[in-house]
Amino acid sequence: VWSNCPPDDWSPRMSDLVFVILIIAFFAVLSLIVKGVERL
């Protein structure tokens, strides 16, 4: 069993929060990559 895998019985509300944060965090990282490329 993948120990880091979110268990299937997570409440949908909890999972939604996790995925929304994940999406926003991912795009925030991409925005930082833009800055990094600018400085390259």
Binding site: W2, P12, I23, F26, F27, L30, K35
Partner: protein, 552 residues
């Protein structure tokens, strides 16, 4: 008529049809992206969005506009899928589970259209139409916008402006994709694809079971699925389903549609850089690679090595009898070469080496001829590498399309070329080391590795076709492949836009005696060679452990 003769005739017809559309569509797209005029509808949209269409953007602003649009689109699609049970036309389906919604939203946003779900038993009509089909248009338009921004980098001089993302996006959707999709949908309906809002027809099977046959607005989604090189099927069986792709004629239309824009964009490129020969050279490179892969896949499938296949007389497992070996090979080569991902046959059932060639085709970086927009910007970036290598080998000054290739360009190009392989190989390695991920593998041995390698190769290159066999709808694969698709699409886009900005800042330099001609047959061979060698060196070890070990 034999299967081979029919296949050869179909290839000839396909090339003729593409040649017929090449000039007018390529010229039209060039006009779309260079026109100073905005239509009334576009002006209205810009007013609503608060966009000044005359204001060109610096590349970081262009990139951030693209990221903002993508983030909002993904959150919207995620939300739509989660609440579909409460919306009209849900067909009684519950909301899509969170991890699957994340995967699907990332998949359609990135033009990948990897599907860890069965369309007919998961998605209501509103989710299909207002969610997935809309992304089919916008993700393709985003790809074309990036391509045009990079071309502007070559043709502009001493400026930090590469165009306006919102204008490029709007024009790509309204002036190119929508009209083509309307015509395409009508053609597919005429060919027999269904288009309705039936909530399902109950059929009594010979085994005495009641089966609900789902209808739906299929043809309209099918048209943009191919034209936008998206590939996400309305049904689980994708283009092997008779409602999506009922006969050899609709199959021919599907292949034609998915190749149309990527091929014509080389003409657009040639016109925009004011040297049509450059467009021909890029097209010739794409066609060479496509032809080589097609010849390889077709030969391997037609030879059908192996006792069982020889007894059956053809490698027909996983292929539709109405399409046969030749057309299935043509479809598979075209879909893996265009980042489309639609399938009319099960790629897992291709011969081991035939399936391996399909994986390799994606590993080329989706440049044969590549996705809508992604193909042309992808191959232009490898062309810079080819020019640089030629410069090192024969002492030519490294320049391409009147722009010097400096250290900054090479850094950006190197990062672009490394990004996808790192994601593919690291993702595959992690998946093979995690027991929960290995549990999703259907077949043991090398074929099992091919299933996982195919999944990461397909998603990182934004292809979206599946090898079959791998159970992808698990938390591990929904999250891992979701992140793979996002990183595989958006990081290279940012690097391509950075490259566009870097090139636009330079002044254009005239060609000299030391300039390597980039419109010749020699350059076509050099570029094709660089693409094959880079992909070969990168992926050979993984391919050796998977399809090569299985097939040899």
């Amino acid at each position: 008529m034999s299967d081979t003769t029919a296949g050869l005739l179909q290839v000839a017809l396909l090339i003729a049809a593409l040649a017929l559309c090449y000039r007018p569509l390529g010229a039209y797209m060039a006009r779309v992206y260079t026109s100073e005029h905005d239509s009334r509808l576009e002006r209205g949209l810009y007013r609503v969005m608060g966009v000044d269409p005359k204001a060109d953007q610096r590349w970081p602003v262009y990139a951030r506009s693209l990221l903002a649009f993508s983030a909002v689109s993904m959150l919207f699609l995620y939300g739509l899928l989660r609440v579909q049970a409460h919306l009209p036309w849900s067909l009684g389906f519950p909301g899509v589970p969170p991890a699957l919604s994340f995967n699907t939203a990332g998949s359609f946003l990135t033009n990948t259209n990897w599907q860890n779900y069965s369309g007919e038993s998961t998605m209501g009509y509103l989710s299909q139409m207002a969610g997935l089909a809309v992304e089919n248009f916008t993700s393709a338009a985003v790809g074309m916008a990036v391509a045009v921004a990079l071309i502007r980098g070559f043709i502009r001089s001493r400026t930090d402006r590469i165009g306006n993302f919102w204008v490029d996006l709007t024009r790509g959707c309204l002036r190119i994709l929508l009209p083509l999709a309307v015509v395409g949908a009508i053609a597919l309906i005429a060919a027999g694809a269904i288009q309705n809002f039936s909530s399902g027809t109950v059929a009594n099977t010979l085994a005495g079971v009641h089966q609900s046959i789902t209808g739906g607005p299929v043809a309209s989604q099918e048209a943009i699925k191919q034209l936008g090189t998206n590939g996400g099927g309305f049904y689980n069986a994708n283009s092997a389903h008779p409602f999506e792709n009922p006969n050899p004629f609709s199959n021919f239309l599907a292949i034609f549609f998915l190749l149309l824009i990527p091929v014509a964009l080389t003409r657009t490129f040639g016109l925009m850089v004011k040297d049509k020969r450059q467009g021909y050279a890029i097209l010739a490179t794409m066609a060479t690679l496509w032809g080589l892969i097609l010849a390889g896949v077709w030969s391997l499938e037609a030879a059908h090595p192996g006792t069982a296949l020889k007894l059956a007389g053809a490698a027909m497992e996983g292929k539709e009898t109405r399409f046969g070996v030749a057309t299935s090979s043509l479809f598979a080569t075209s879909t893996t070469g265009t980042s489309t991902g639609a399938v009319d046959a099960a790629h897992s059932s291709f011969t081991a080496l035939g399936g391996g060639l399909l994986i390799f085709n994606m590993g080329l970086g989706e440049v044969a001829p590549g996705g809508t927009g992604t193909g042309i910007y992808g191959i232009l970036i490898v062309a810079i590498v080819a020019v640089f290598i030629a410069g090192l080998m024969v002492g030519r000054t490294p320049e391409y399309l009147h722009k010097k290739i400096t250290g900054r360009e090479i850094k950006l190009v190197s990062l672009y070329i490394l990004t996808t392989p790192v994601i593919v190989l690291a993702g595959t390695g992690i998946a093979m080391s995690v027991s929960a991920a290995r549990a999703s593998i259907l077949n043991p041995g090398p074929h099992g590795l091919s299933e996982v390698l195919y999944a990461f190769m397909s998603t990182a290159n934004n292809n979206g076709s599946a090898f079959a066999g791998l159970s992808g709808n698990t938390n591990f694969y929904n999250i891992a492949l979701g992140l793979t698709m996002l990183a595989g699409r958006l990081i290279p886009i940012l690097l391509a836009l950075g490259l566009a900005g870097s090139l636009a800042r330079q002044r254009s330099i005239p060609a000299t005696a030391g300039t390597l001609p980039t419109h010749t047959a020699l350059f076509v061979l050099l570029l094709a060679g660089v693409i094959i060698i880079v992909a070969g060196l990168t992926f050979f070890p993984a391919l050796a452990l998977g399809p090569l070990a299985e097939g040899l």
